[in-house]
Structure formats: C-alpha cells, structure tokens
C-alpha cells in the first residue's frame, strides 16, 4: 500500500519530558519526573491504578492544565498539533455515523474529509461495510476499532493512548492489539495500560510507574519486535516476572 502513501506520517520525533509535576489536593502525584519516548517506537507505561499514569499522559497531550513539565521533541519543533489521542472510552459521537466519526478531526478543522483515506482505514479495521452505521448499532469492540481508525485518520507522528483496550473482553482485546500493533508502526507511541501482557505484546520499551510521588523504572525491552504473539512462552515468563515486580512495588 506504500504507493497510496497514507500510512507514513512525517518523521516521528522522539519526546523528552522533564521536571513534570502534579499536585492534587496537597499530595504530590509526581514531582520532577522525567520520561523519554524514543522516536518511532512504542513505549508502554505500566503501573497500579491511581498512580498517575493517565495524568502523565494528559500532561504530554496538553490536556492537563493543572500539571506542569517541559516537553521537548527531538526535532526541536513544537509538539502541539502533531499528536493524536485515544482514550479508554471510544468517545464516538452518537449523532454521527461511523465514517463521519472517523473524519471528525477534519470537520472540526473545517477541512473536507479525505474519502480515500477514510475508506482505506475502515477497511484496515474491518468496518468498511459499516461506514453508514450509527455507533449505537455497533458492539464495544467495533466501536473501539472505529476509535482506532479515527486516531489513525489524524495521521499524526505521535500517538498517546490511554488504556485504549481496557474496556474490551479478552478475545476482542487480543484482536485489537494485533491490529493496533501493525498500524502504529513507525510512530512515536505512548501506550498507558495496566495489562502486563498488552505491554509485552505491543511495546518496544516498557516503563513502570510506581510510588507516591511516582517514579519511573528503568526502561525494559522484551526480545523481538511487536506485535508479539500472545502464546510466546518467553513472553509468558516475562509476564510472570513483570507481575511479580508490580506486586512487589505496590506492596512496598
């Protein structure tokens, strides 16, 4: 499909966050936190609930006015306007059909929708036949696939994902991980998740956020390239180790 030229965004920059700080009702969620996201790679951020993973992601996406921190892109340009964001909720607008939800960004920027690109993405997520359906007529997995298509339609070099598959059943989640793993290639991605297997399947690098104020562990890279097979025995061994580490840190 390279001739279509849809799926290569501008060169994806690396991202460096430093001095991140967020106080919530007098408690420091994180303070002077640093984070490195390598260019064109998927980094997965793991950690227990309430540790501040989503707040950190919102800070990077420019959605958290209460948090502060210095965000730099490796190419020196501003990050603003080069980010696509995907949340745990599909956030589909119920009054728009599937294809209009995918092209919502163009509607908001008052640009005409790119028909070919929209169709191509809907084919990739397997929903080309449902282009005219309303979200209410779709299953949870289908809705999240539309949300994935909408995220990719933005064609941004940087993608922030906040537990995008957490609300799905196990089988649907595995399918969507396969799909996302392929489609996210070449972009700088930060994927927040509480599922160690998801992180091991999709991440080039894994980061663990724990403690209060939260600290980020050394980056850890599983062998091989994502998306990794879920039944890979080495992956399962790593999952057990990762779970043990998460539990230890939570207990500490």
């Amino acid at each position: 499909m390279s001739s279509v030229g849809f799926d290569t965004p501008d060169a994806a920059p690396g991202i460096r966050l430093s001095g991140a700080r967020l106080h919530y009702e007098g408690v420091a969620l994180f303070d002077n936190l640093s984070l490195n996201l390598p260019a064109g790679r998927t980094s997965c951020l793991l950690g227990p609930s309430g540790v501040g993973k989503s707040s950190l992601l919102a800070l990077l996406a420019g959605l958290n006015a209460a948090a502060e921190g210095k965000i730099e892109a490796s190419d020196g340009a501003a990050l603003q306007g080069r980010v696509a964001w995907m949340a745990q909720q599909d956030l589909l607008l119920p009054w728009l059909n599937v294809q209009d939800n995918v092209t919502l960004g163009d509607r908001l920027r008052r640009q005409p929708p790119k028909h070919a690109r929209r169709l191509h993405l809907l084919e990739q997520v397997g929903l080309a036949e449902r282009a005219d359906s309303v979200p209410a007529a779709l299953s949870g997995g289908m809705r999240q696939r539309v949300a994935l298509a909408r995220t990719l339609y933005e064609n941004q070099p940087v993608i922030f994902m906040d537990e995008p598959f957490a609300a799905l059943d196990a089988v649907t989640r595995l399918e969507l991980q396969d799909l996302a793993g392929g489609l996210l290639a070449g972009r700088t991605v930060l994927l927040v998740t509480h599922d160690p297997l998801e992180a091991l399947r999709l991440g080039h690098h894994l980061l663990v956020l724990t403690g209060r104020p939260a600290r980020i562990s050394e980056a850890f890279a599983p062998p091989g390239m994502p998306p990794r097979a879920p039944d890979d025995p080495s992956l399962l061994a790593l999952q057990a180790r990762l779970l043990a580490a998460l539990r230890r840190k939570e207990g500490a």
Binding site: L63, L91, L108
Partner: protein, 250 residues
Amino acid sequence: MGLLRAATVTLGLLLLWQALVWVTAVPPFILPSPQAVGATLVQRWPLLLGHASVTAAEILLGLLLGVLLGTIAALLLASATVLRRWLLPLLVASQAIPVFALAPLLVLWLGYGMASKVAMATLIIFFPVTAAFYDGLRRTDPGWLALAQTMGGTRYAILRHIAIPAALPAFTSGLRVATAVAPIGAVVGEWVGSSAGLGHLMLNANARMQTDLMFAALLVLTAMALLLYYAVDFLGRRLLPWLPESQPRS
C-alpha cells in the same frame, strides 16, 4: 394499544362525570352533564373556533419568541464568561418574580390585544428553555472536549459540532416543558384583560353562568395543548433519532 387505553380512560372519566351528575343532582350551572357540554361544543363550534384560533396564535408566537430568545441566551451564557457573571444572577433573580403578577403590567403596557399575551407566553417559556439548554451545553462529556482539543478544533467549531448537538436532548426537554406551560401564559394573559381568546370566552361565560360553554372552551384548550405537546415530542424524536428515548420500546 396506547390509543385503546386512552379511549378507555376517556370513556371511564366521562361515565364517572355523568354518574356524579346523576347521583348528586347538582344544578347544571355548577356542573353540566357531559351531554350538555357536548351539545354546546357542537352548537357553539364557530364561536369556539374563532376564540381558539386567537389563543393558538398567541401560544405559537410566544413559543417561537420564547424558544428563540431562550436559545440565544443559553448560547451567550455558555460562550461568554464575562457575560455569564452578569447575566446568570439576573436571570435567576428574575425567576423569583411570579410571571402571573406581571400580567396586569403587561396588559397596561401592551394593551388588550394579542401583544400582551404573546409577551406573557414568551416570558414563561424563556426560562425553561434557557435553563435546560444552558445546562446541556455545560455538561458536554469532558472526553469529547479533550478529543476535539487534540484535533485542533477552534472554540467555535467545538461548540457547533460537539457541544450544541450534545446539548440537544437537554434542549428538547426544555422545549417540552415550554410547550406545556405556553397555554398557561396565554390564558392567564387573557384573564387579566383581553378582547378575544379562549380565556376571554371562559371569563365571559363564567360571568353569565354559561358553565357548559366554559367546559367546552376548556376542552378545546386541553385538546390544543395536548396536540401541541405531542407534535413537539414527535418532532424531537424524529430529529434526534440517536437518543435512547427515541428508540422504539420493546
């Protein structure tokens, strides 16, 4: 099925009414029998229709103006922070004044004609529409707003494509309330001082002890109000098919 139920209830109420008249043997100027009211309804139909058309015009004009002003006010409140600080307390305080108490003033200022009744209906409709729509505009899903923000939407684009469509269900509830109170505004206005309309007719009939005519006028008014309410309800469902309450009930 619903129609059958409605017909049964109506018939039951009519029978109850008739039984009450028979058992208590009240004089007709206190409570006329259903047949007497029915006969008056047929005999005086041209008269009733003439006054009903005046009241209907007052209600519809009031609804149009009230909804228009209410919509504009809600949009202003939602989009201009400075204006909101000044306008919101004023709006809330204005609701402490009973609108009915203003009716004599409105008649004094705008005369016995239609204008004072339209103003009365507009006043009574304005607030439920403003309150409901503004509330809806304020409660946009923060996730949608965050998404729109990352997509580079301007404030205007977010209002037009996200906040307003998302607030339409709240707007239609406000519209339903407005439709229900609109006839009250018009009729109260007519009671205070008027030369035509169903309220005027009822007041005159009352003074002449033509209770059957009063009841006939009341029936026409009720039918009009119901028709209006269901028309708005139907339109709301047709225009907002994605609402859960618009789905056919199983």
